[in-house]
Assembly symmetry: C2
Homo-oligomer: 356 residues x 2
């Protein structure tokens, strides 16, 4: 990250009419053949994709037959691709997915944390209870890993037990399937790249934005994927579009955008300012990383500006995306004190890919 | 902020051994005569200091005689300089300060929000109650403004009422005193700089880091301040050192550092990645601004590295600051997944000012 030419400023935070803070980053727009339609900043530096690739990590759950075997619903599949807010509907759906494989929350290896969703946190506190692993934002993904492990175990006889525990380890049979799916989809060699441990304890592999975007272009089109993965990608996109409230939650970007745009966009945020999206009608994949890791406000503005550029939008969809690419900031008294907005460099940079 | 040469990377976030995210910024170390001992990045761009200058904003509370008139305690004066976590001790101290002037929480114009301190938020939720303006992180500062207004009103006869309400407005008599104190201390012309509205609804004026650092060098030494402001600065530094738990709260940087270093450092964080500090034994002031506005993790690492460089530290103090300038990051299972650390550019840049 000590490149002589730093990544461009993509988002500005204004107070009054003055730029108070700014966020640099890089993004790639790529088609399923790997052609780069747009690159802003350095798209060849490997970045940890974190939760932005949960859909890729869920491909084996469907492609293996586990999802069909256990009869997972749209909600449960969408939750497998989610970083959710720990709302009651999310915790209940994770529990339901585990129950289909005869498991419960004690099978989850993601750790427990309080709900990210503010009202759900306070309601849980009021109830006098503590959070469980079901409230972890990754519980749906982990429930999917548990289902995959149970499926693999079913053919393993006396060996079955080892498929159920330790699935967060890179060498576990289920995690090997997950890692292989990410490698196949992105076409990037994960055996020779940096590996870190994610917040939920599974491995995360550093992948350049160019390859992350390619992976999501393949998800968008099915091109370049195995038949099984292409069908799984299609099934997961459908599930997410059918149950967008599962992917993030009340008031959250991914849920709001997909509730309005349906299957036109399949987007997913990741920690440390990463975003990936598949745009089927354009046959494109998108990947973004903010240098400063800002997920709380910056990367959503970039993704909103990207969607505005890449898709023709009208009515409610146009209004929603406009409100997300330039955001009013209010203080504790409800007074508007500033704005978040896509920078001129980002708006100008997107011009070559604007939808006709 | 579209300078051709961007500010240097001051902090790196690593996952495993790989840099995952990075934070750029600028800092100034200045003496009370305005000599710049160290500048990293652009120290002449005006930035909103936000809550980092609460001590300067509290100077009129003491210099006017209001603090003495109402008998404000160390705790109450420290809280006037605070961005606190809304712990019960903070809310109670704000209420006590208001009561000394015959007022209560309804006089506060900062708005209400839930405590930033996690356990206090949950305890309040469990109690079934809602937060009041006393829980606002700025309630102590606002209680000070109310006391100042009551003091000014006491000589105003029939006009008194207008000194009590509307104190967040720039033209209010109390706020004019506050703004004048900031201008005198920093030596920067606030009449001709950008003005924004802060989170607590008072005005915030854009000031270059060079002048913010000068203001804190003057606080450190008294040099260049009026006799009244110099005495007030000394009183406030004493109060903060005597009651450091009031300035931020349990587990927070400013409280932890000042609990160990006492009057050797008087430091204060502000929103959007700003930090200011006075270092009396070196006669220096310090000001920092992160480009990306990151207060949550980045700017504290910079301030810790600055204190390590500027003050000879031993024992508990050395250990504490070392743990704050290179921070272990753990995940939900308590596994260490990475580190926050001062960048090589920052460590190298600080070499010229390292204490003998």
């Amino acid at each position: 990250m000590t490149s002589p030419s730093p990544n461009p400023v993509l988002v500005e935070a204004l107070r009054g009419g003055t730029v108070e803070s700014q966020h640099r980053g890089a993004l790639a727009v790529v088609d399923a053949q790997g052609s780069v339609l747009l690159a802003l900043g350095d798209i060849d530096r490997a970045v940890f994709p974190r939760s932005a690739i949960k859909l890729l990590q869920a491909l084996p759950l469907v492609a293996s037959g586990a999802a069909e075997r256990f009869g997972l619903s749209d909600e449960e599949l969408a939750l497998a691709c989610a970083s959710h807010g720990g709302e009651p509907m999310h915790a209940a759906t994770a529990a339901a997915a585990l129950a289909r494989a005869g498991q419960d929350h004690t099978a989850l290896e993601c750790g427990a944390h309080w709900p990210y969703h503010d009202a759900s946190l306070k309601a849980l506190a009021r109830s006098g209870n503590e959070p469980t692993a079901l409230h972890n934002n990754c519980s749906g993904k982990h429930a999917g890993f548990v289902c995959l492990g149970c499926h693999l175990a079913s053919d393993a006889g006396a060996e079955a037990r080892r498929f159920l525990r330790g699935y967060v380890q890179p060498e576990h049979a289920a995690m090997r399937e997950v890692t292989a799916a990410v490698q196949f989809a992105t076409g990037f060699d994960l055996a020779h790249t940096a590996r870190g441990t994610d917040g939920c304890s599974i491995p995360t592999y550093a992948i350049p934005l160019r390859y992350l975007a390619l992976g999501f272009a393949r998800v968008a089109t099915g091109d370049g994927l195995s038949t099984g993965h292409a069908a799984a990608a299609h099934r997961l996109r459908q599930a997410v579009a059918a149950a967008p409230q599962m992917v993030a939650g009340s008031g959250r970007f991914d849920s709001r955008v997909m509730a309005v745009l349906g299957e036109r966009v399949c987007c997913k945020v990741g920690a440390e300012g990463v975003y990936c999206a598949a745009l089927p009608e354009r046959g494109l994949g998108v990947a973004v990383k903010m240098d400063d890791g800002n997920t709380a406000r910056a990367v959503e503005v970039v993704m909103a500006a990207l969607i505005e550029a890449l898709l023709p939008l009208q009515g409610e969809a146009a209004e929603l995306l406009a409100s997300l690419s330039e955001v009013q900031l209010k203080n504790w008294n409800g007074i508007e004190v500033g704005r978040l907005r896509a920078s001129a460099a980002l708006r100008h940079g997107l011009e070559p890919v604007i939808a006709a």
